[in-house]
Amino acid sequence: MGRGIGWGAGLLCIGLTIASAQERRHAAGVDPLMPQEGRVLYRLLPDARLQSADGAVQTLAALWRETPLLLVFAFSRCAGVCSPLLLQLKDAAERVGGIGTEYRILVVSFDSADTPEQLAAFARRSGVWQQQGWLFATAEPDALAPLLQTVGFWYSPVTGTDQYDHPAMVLGVRKGRIVRVHVGALIRTMELRAILRELRGDPVLAYPLPTAEMPFRCYGYNPETGAFTLEWGIVLLLAPTLVGAVAVWLTFAQQRRRAERCT
């Protein structure tokens, strides 16, 4: 009987673990090919000489010393995820504001065949050519490989085409270090806002703030007067002590009655 319960409990645990792990994998969209933030977080970017689409030459370090950066890797002939990612980013950046003053978006080509002219055309197609805060650049091949390795970016040619298979990712870079990695072509306004908070070093809210309609509030606060009021939730904080006191009293009273009956 006991052994049967033990086996049953063991099997239940294994089942729960497997079911939950599958659910988690499904929820997180885990893919071994996707870059992982934990692997590269806080790494210092190696420096690289960059040639902008408008022909100017500068270093990556010079750029991140001026402002925080959102770093994107793409290539000019990309028929896949690059354009949707840049369009999403453009749309979100317009909504959030601050581009060009608080931060800049640097699009670096990982394709050594790309030229500044091709990148300029790519920027025009993306609707951000010479827009404030947007930079498109190629990197020297010797510097590109260590840069891609540091940030955990990979690419591989697709046989029979001029295309590359690669992930879509946006890196938040503050003082030359990776502080955030966003993976995927979809970047919502809320997500960009969180990355920019990270770039500024501000705290990032993990959940919505309580509202006045929220049930079981213990305190009310009037921001205009600074006054606190006690609300119904406070009863929940007092309940354990009150119920506990009654339970203790009843236990002692019951035992005392029992002792009196015995004597």
Binding site: L44, F216, Y219, G233, P240, A247, V248
Partner: protein, 499 residues
């Protein structure tokens, strides 16, 4: 006459049951403490930057942090409670069947928590609401459900044994007597009570209230789980610390109760109840339920007076009880022919660790300090001091005491000194790195330190060296006490066979 004989038989059977119960829990502690402790070693090595290539997903750090914290707090609470039960059992008649039911339910709860580690459940041991419900894909909804089930099962298990302890005390003493109020009146106190009964009464009452707070917290979380709408996170945070902080405090007090009862067996000096002890422990009962407010200083939505209550309650629960216990312990050993064994040495050093960690805790409960230290490694520093170098030492002392008592064997003086040296140097070196990190503003709960906290990586590396000493000390302890444990088991089997 026949009733008396039956009563005696029943008492003997319960005493044998208590021995079996304590033996099982001692064994569980010997197995689970090293395993859960290794998760802590993993965390410090991860922070030292040595495991990030091997385990690239920092999610495992947070899952380890959750199981390490929840598992060890639960284990230390439960094992120290068993030590208290063992110490109080000569004075009150416990019904071990309730203790076995609690143990079975605790085992189910622990298994569920371990399952959740593999599910990546990682909101930290304090599982701050609404984090368990907002994992951003890091763990599943099923994992949150399993966690809620584990909390429910553990809550029921521990309410049962707290109630059984209270019932057993109530069967022999009136409430005022158990709390020692007769000592506050003029004249001879009648009846006298052993200090362990006073501590056990305070612990049982506070424990029941704390576990009721867990019930309310669980109900609120279930409201979220089934309605999908958020409840006030501030209420839930209050309840989490009402329950969690009180439970951690109680774990320490369980150990102190055991100390009051057991250290005199080694020193030969009785530890008697007196007015200072009664005042201190009644103050603890009065204030332990409000000290948790010091966890909420940073929650600006709490009214200011609540913070003041938290600060003064923190002083009120720690200083009087610590002073009477420290003075009592020192008077037990100062110029006395103490029989120093592994058990008595660990009990003594555990009490000192409680005092040292308590000083750091009192500092941290002071608003002006907390403002600087709250989210730094100072917090793990103080709780690791009074947990690892405090109650864990006392619990290891309890298990060693039990092993010696049940087996009749003792360890060599050389082995005792080696184990103590390793645990003390390793333990204090380990927590010192936390203190230095905290004082330098290194944040807590970071798997990978940001560049601004580079010092945290260096200190984590040094801490790992000290942790290695602790691991070695624990291994030697396991070998030494494990042999006694085995001899006790063989003796028990032999005697049952001859019966």
């Amino acid at each position: 006459m026949a009733e008396l004989a039956l009563g005696r038989q029943h008492a003997m059977a319960e005493s044998a049951g208590m021995r079996q119960f304590a033996w099982l829990w001692g064994g569980l502690f010997l197995v689970l403490f090293p395993l859960l402790g290794l998760l802590g070693v993993f965390m410090r090595m991860y922070q030292a930057g040595w495991l990030q290539e091997l385990v690239p997903d920092p999610q495992w750090f947070y899952a380890a942090m959750t199981l390490h914290g929840l598992g060890l707090v639960g284990l230390i609470y439960a094992a120290s409670f068993v030590a208290l039960l063992w110490a109080v059992s000569p004075h009150v008649q416990l019904q071990t069947r309730w203790l076995w039911i609690s143990t079975g339910l605790t085992a189910v709860g622990v298994v569920l928590l371990v399952v959740n580690f593999f599910n990546g459940f990682a909101p930290g041991w304090y599982f701050l609401y609404p984090l368990p419900f907002m994992p951003s894909g890091a763990w599943s909804g099923t994992a949150t459900d399993i966690f809620l089930a584990a909390v429910a099962v553990l809550g029921v298990a521990w309410v049962i044994w707290e109630l059984e302890l209270l019932r057993a005390i109530a069967a022999r003493y009136r409430l005022g007597v158990a709390l020692g109020w007769q000592y506050l009146r003029k004249g001879e106190p009648r009846p006298e009570i052993p200090p362990v009964v006073l501590v056990a009464t305070v612990c049982a009452i506070a424990g029941i209230v704390a576990l009721l707070a867990a019930v309310v917290m669980l109900v609120l979380m279930l409201v979220h789980r089934f309605s999908g709408s958020m409840v006030d996170p501030l209420v839930v945070k209050n309840l989490i610390f009402f329950f969690g902080h009180t439970l951690v405090n109680l774990a320490m007090y369980h150990g102190i109760g055991f100390l009051y009862s057991t250290l005199p067996k080694y020193s030969g000096q009785p530890w008697k109840t007196g007015i200072p002890l009664v005042v201190a422990w009644n103050l603890v009962l009065l204030l332990v339920l409000t000290a948790y407010f010091h966890h909420l200083y940073m929650d600006f939505a709490q009214p200011r007076w609540v913070n003041f209550v938290g600060q003064f309650a923190s002083y009120g629960i720690s200083i009087p009880a610590a002073v009477v216990t420290l003075l009592g312990t020192l008077s037990q050993v100062y110029r006395r022919p103490v029989r120093w064994t592994l058990a008595s040495s660990l009990m003594f050093w555990g009490t000192m660790g409680w005092a040292i960690g308590g000083v750091a805790a009192v500092l941290d409960s002071t608003v002006a300090f907390n403002f600087r230290f709250h989210n730094t490694l100072w917090v793990p520093a103080h709780f690791h001091t009074y947990l690892l170098a405090g109650i864990v030492f006392i619990t290891l002392g309890f298990v060693a005491h039990l092993a010696q008592e049940l087996s009749g064997k003792s360890e060599s003086a050389g082995m005792r000194r080696t184990i103590l040296a390793l645990l003390l140097i390793g333990g204090y070196g380990f927590v010192l790195m936390f203190y230095l990190s905290g004082a330098n503003g290194v944040p807590r709960r970071y798997a990978i330190y940001p560049p601004d906290a580079e010092l945290g990586v260096q200190l984590a590396r040094i801490a790992t060296f000290f942790v290695a000493l602790v691991v070695l000390g624990v291994l030697l302890y396991l070998v030494t006490v494990g042999k006694q444990w085995g001899a006790a088991l063989a003796g028990a089997q032999g005697s049952s066979a001859s019966d």
